[in-house]
Symmetry: D2
Subunit: 372 residues, 4 copies
Amino acid sequence: MGDTFGHRFRVTTFGESHGAGLGAVLDGVPPGLAIDWERVQEELDRRRPGQSRLTTPRSESDRPEVLSGMFEGVTTGTALALLFRNEDVDSSKYDDLKELYRPSHADFTYAARFGVRDHRGGGRASARETVARVAAGAIARQVLERELPGFECVAWVATVGDLEADVDPLTVTRAAVDATPVRCPDLAVASQMEALIGEVRKARDTIGGVVAVAVRGVPAGLGDPVFDKLDAELAHAAMGLPAAKGVEIGSGFAGTRMRGSAHNDAFIPRPGAPAASAGNAPGVATRTNHSGGIQGGISNGEPLLMRVAFKPVATIFQPQETVRTDGQPTVFAAKGRHDPCVLPRAVPIVEAMACLVVLDQWLRRPLRLATP
Amino acid sequence: MGDTFGHRFRVTTFGESHGAGLGAVLDGVPPGLAIDWERVQEELDRRRPGQSRLTTPRSESDRPEVLSGMFEGVTTGTALALLFRNEDVDSSKYDDLKELYRPSHADFTYAARFGVRDHRGGGRASARETVARVAAGAIARQVLERELPGFECVAWVATVGDLEADVDPLTVTRAAVDATPVRCPDLAVASQMEALIGEVRKARDTIGGVVAVAVRGVPAGLGDPVFDKLDAELAHAAMGLPAAKGVEIGSGFAGTRMRGSAHNDAFIPRPGAPAASAGNAPGVATRTNHSGGIQGGISNGEPLLMRVAFKPVATIFQPQETVRTDGQPTVFAAKGRHDPCVLPRAVPIVEAMACLVVLDQWLRRPLRLATP
Amino acid sequence: MGDTFGHRFRVTTFGESHGAGLGAVLDGVPPGLAIDWERVQEELDRRRPGQSRLTTPRSESDRPEVLSGMFEGVTTGTALALLFRNEDVDSSKYDDLKELYRPSHADFTYAARFGVRDHRGGGRASARETVARVAAGAIARQVLERELPGFECVAWVATVGDLEADVDPLTVTRAAVDATPVRCPDLAVASQMEALIGEVRKARDTIGGVVAVAVRGVPAGLGDPVFDKLDAELAHAAMGLPAAKGVEIGSGFAGTRMRGSAHNDAFIPRPGAPAASAGNAPGVATRTNHSGGIQGGISNGEPLLMRVAFKPVATIFQPQETVRTDGQPTVFAAKGRHDPCVLPRAVPIVEAMACLVVLDQWLRRPLRLATP
Amino acid sequence: MGDTFGHRFRVTTFGESHGAGLGAVLDGVPPGLAIDWERVQEELDRRRPGQSRLTTPRSESDRPEVLSGMFEGVTTGTALALLFRNEDVDSSKYDDLKELYRPSHADFTYAARFGVRDHRGGGRASARETVARVAAGAIARQVLERELPGFECVAWVATVGDLEADVDPLTVTRAAVDATPVRCPDLAVASQMEALIGEVRKARDTIGGVVAVAVRGVPAGLGDPVFDKLDAELAHAAMGLPAAKGVEIGSGFAGTRMRGSAHNDAFIPRPGAPAASAGNAPGVATRTNHSGGIQGGISNGEPLLMRVAFKPVATIFQPQETVRTDGQPTVFAAKGRHDPCVLPRAVPIVEAMACLVVLDQWLRRPLRLATP
């Protein structure tokens, strides 16, 4: 299982890196939506490899074929299926992976779970699967923009290795993010990051980092109590991304070192605040946003703030100790095309997952009775 | 929605802090299980307030009534319902909360979502809801112990404020954890933590920290690909806990600062390794465990390692700026019984959620065909 | 699993006939609803045994305790839990059932599935479980009445054995249904049914029949395409009732003997028709209603018509051939209190399931974009 | 929603009659399965139009492209996606449907639900969608045959109009079913059915009927208690088929006219009976099978027996009264290619749905603890 995400806006993905292609089936797309496919493509292009010298040169056009769910330019409200054909596939490059398990890849664990394994490019575990998520998220974003005035979802590279950017989540724009190939809107740090990534590549190594995301224009009242809190679903979404090892909402781990008196977000009146989803709570704001826009698992109208930790890519060009499928020790060094740092390409993926969660929760608001 | 967790071992909880009681309905409990209720109670007692001077003195026996699903001492395999009556309830203490929103509590967000709000003790948002999770997790643990030889799930307080314990996740025991009231098995740091918590209490303030958990004896092969990865479900479970603001698996955020060559977990042969769930992958181990026992979203047979960040408790006894339900500013200071630090009591709760996730995934292994 | 019904208005039930009690947890109840508990009790009383000499004399008050989800007289929007304590329980009467499988009961199949079995009064398989459904359905009905002007859900006994009532589904009222103990609004046939049931009782036997239900005031547009059609969900709901062996929508099996030219429901204009859920289809009606209000799995604004076949109750007072739990043949004759015909008591249960399905689908309408 | 069926073997379908194609994504396929694609094609060919003069001449090869989930001839255990390209598509034939609602079709209800409508060939509501179900069911069947010795699922045309076949569900074979174009194994009645269908076609009309299915070799113990009984899920599956208006399990509606003493299925010892799924119930059989193999919602080891009522096809070539999309009355007569009777082609579809339900429930058996 595990191929489906969401309850009311449901995305089911399929496909492998070196099979016929990848795709997504979207269930719960509102009918009558004139999807702006250019904007969907824009997101896909941001995720696509080969955009800059920082990323892998694999050449895929990543243009989806719409298999169903559109008629005369608008969504029909029934299953919308997208297919991305794999194009730049030369599986022979992966022949030497067939008999071993690459360290910190999913090779061994897929074999352990399924008994069989598509070794070509990671098979189903390939990060190429995220192409389907990005398309789904881009459609979710267009729905949210129609439903929520002022909705904006902007992610950026917050850290690479020890380098940490200084970015204001209230004002950061996509233009600023995309101004540098590393997708860090702090220009000074961005150029240091670029240098560091170049250095790491030369060392035939890889490096990790953190992507931060701010979601603005989300009304108060989104998120289910108890198990399916808004932050729990964001964490689920983010930790399900390849190479993700950590998630923070608001103050996150740093908040654990604070006192309650400093951490609490004081409420202040905000007369013109966007109406809460319930329609009858007053307009309020908070002086600080250590909560990351979520209190008790429900949005409070402040920007949602999340940070996602990505480990260094497992594929390195240095020799590493590992084990063959017959259990014997061996040594392995990767060849071919691989990113030294996935962070810049992770930016649109994190945005996509955030949009999927917010839209799904938007569709899960409680019914408000006309006559209680 | 949101009251249900899990797919094959499903827990549905209900109840509020100051209503009739709290409870859980468990669906998917294996039949024929002679539940050891003393051990369930042991977990509940660990979560219970009033265990030490570190925690709130609210007095609840927290003894569940079994409403269904047991017959002649064993589970029937049908819905097992538990009820915890609220006993020590004096809602009048909360009367002054009715007209305001406590900072960084769920008061405002519940009002925004539902339009109505049970202001007594946090209502449905009360951390008392976790009593139901702990009972469910304790039952899940007993199933796992029968299914998985060597299964152990041990959590501990890893940090309080800036104080950080040094604990070996491979060997830490519950006995060591429970040896101190702060549930930190590093004795030297534990006494510092106790002192710090006492100091914070005197300052009428609160403090956060990190709970770490190690799950040992989990075979390779648990976890779904793509969206419902084992780490994604652990993150979902942990971030759904009250006051949780961050989750890390394995190296977490620290791993983002490492190079791939240092972060990768080299595979080594382990002839006597526990069979993978698929039964036909070789016994392997890893030299390091930066992956936290999960690769590509699937367990690799190494201990699962997770850390959960808890913010400082929102209830402080100092005056704070906030807003009334009519939108006017006001000042609020809490009274009554409240923990200055929830970390010690969060330990059994984190264990419970980890057990729920692992058992659910254990029940979701793929079918292995007798004759492919 | 199987204890949960619905997606957006979810009912989870628990309990056994001779355990502590039965109950339901409702997730997705709209907040702010001032539930009319007297009307809920009215439905429960209609289902309750001992209402007339036609039904079993088991004496249960069937008054629910509200465990959670209500505050100051209205629903909070969070989990609403109800508990029905078992009162009139004397399990010793069932001791002789412990060692055998009653024919056409669930004794053997529960043993086959679970290995263990609560033999007292059918355990989890007892029809007493429907008390929880009736309460849930009564709450769903109150939501629907607030949302849908003109909503009415009326079931009646359509047949007992070979006796068939003549009832107009467009006009039949609850008053007419409840006017006779057999709940058949065709008075002439009702008295024949009563006589037949009395005769069957004297013969120490049982008899089956059909309950019909009409749901009026349902707007066009409810029901999901493909797998979760409105009729598919109604069939799921109805066939999940104890003793149900058949379901028909509209013309049902009789329709299979018709020609398309006679079966098709001609559309005619209906200017004042209730707006379709999408708001932009014209007001139409159909001349006939062979479709039972559902076309392509989606409601068309005409009354929903369903018929549910209930087999004769399995508990008869005549000796029957059967098998003991050790596999040896034996003979068994029931004793105690049992209905010769469940049909009258099935009427509120069928209504409850219909209300649950319609409300869940009402909450699952597609989002209509403000600006496509 | 509604595009997904099943919990542990999940099928998500997409596509429209006149779009790019139709497809299915299967989640939960056991890994390592060498799917016999010729047998899958055999089922698809049985469903395909144009097989005989009884069915519509639309020409589609209905050969699926495997988009994912297979590697080196076996399933990988991850999402298996199939695509059926639409080939014989001439949408211009449907232009005159754009402005009206065909009687007893889904035209109006889709418009009411979604506001938009793909009028070409029924769009998403087209029965062509079942091509995806048949492929999924054929794969499910292959899994069941490996898991359950003696598993057989055979459906046949039981009635057309008033003509009723006499068929023994214990012994009927696919060979006997497929021996006649009408798929009725009672040869005498089959030729009458053929004649009747020919007559109906000449009258430019259509006719309904009943498909019966027997599933043999299903062990005792499949089916969830309460809401998701095996019969409830079979009813859900069957009633979700296009044109289905009724479902019966075992004695069905006829059983309502029986006395309990005649209807009860006496248990008798069956020493060599296939082990129940729980492994510790004795081998038993029943003298009769009015229960249709299901008691208390759980299989009892006897053949599952279901009957599904299909109304006459809505598309007739006679003029009919209807309404235009602007609400004005009009007259409509269908043109083009259409079956006068869908029954023969419904046979493989009913089998497919039965296989999907049984496999899903097979995968949902309770865990049996090694050491209770």
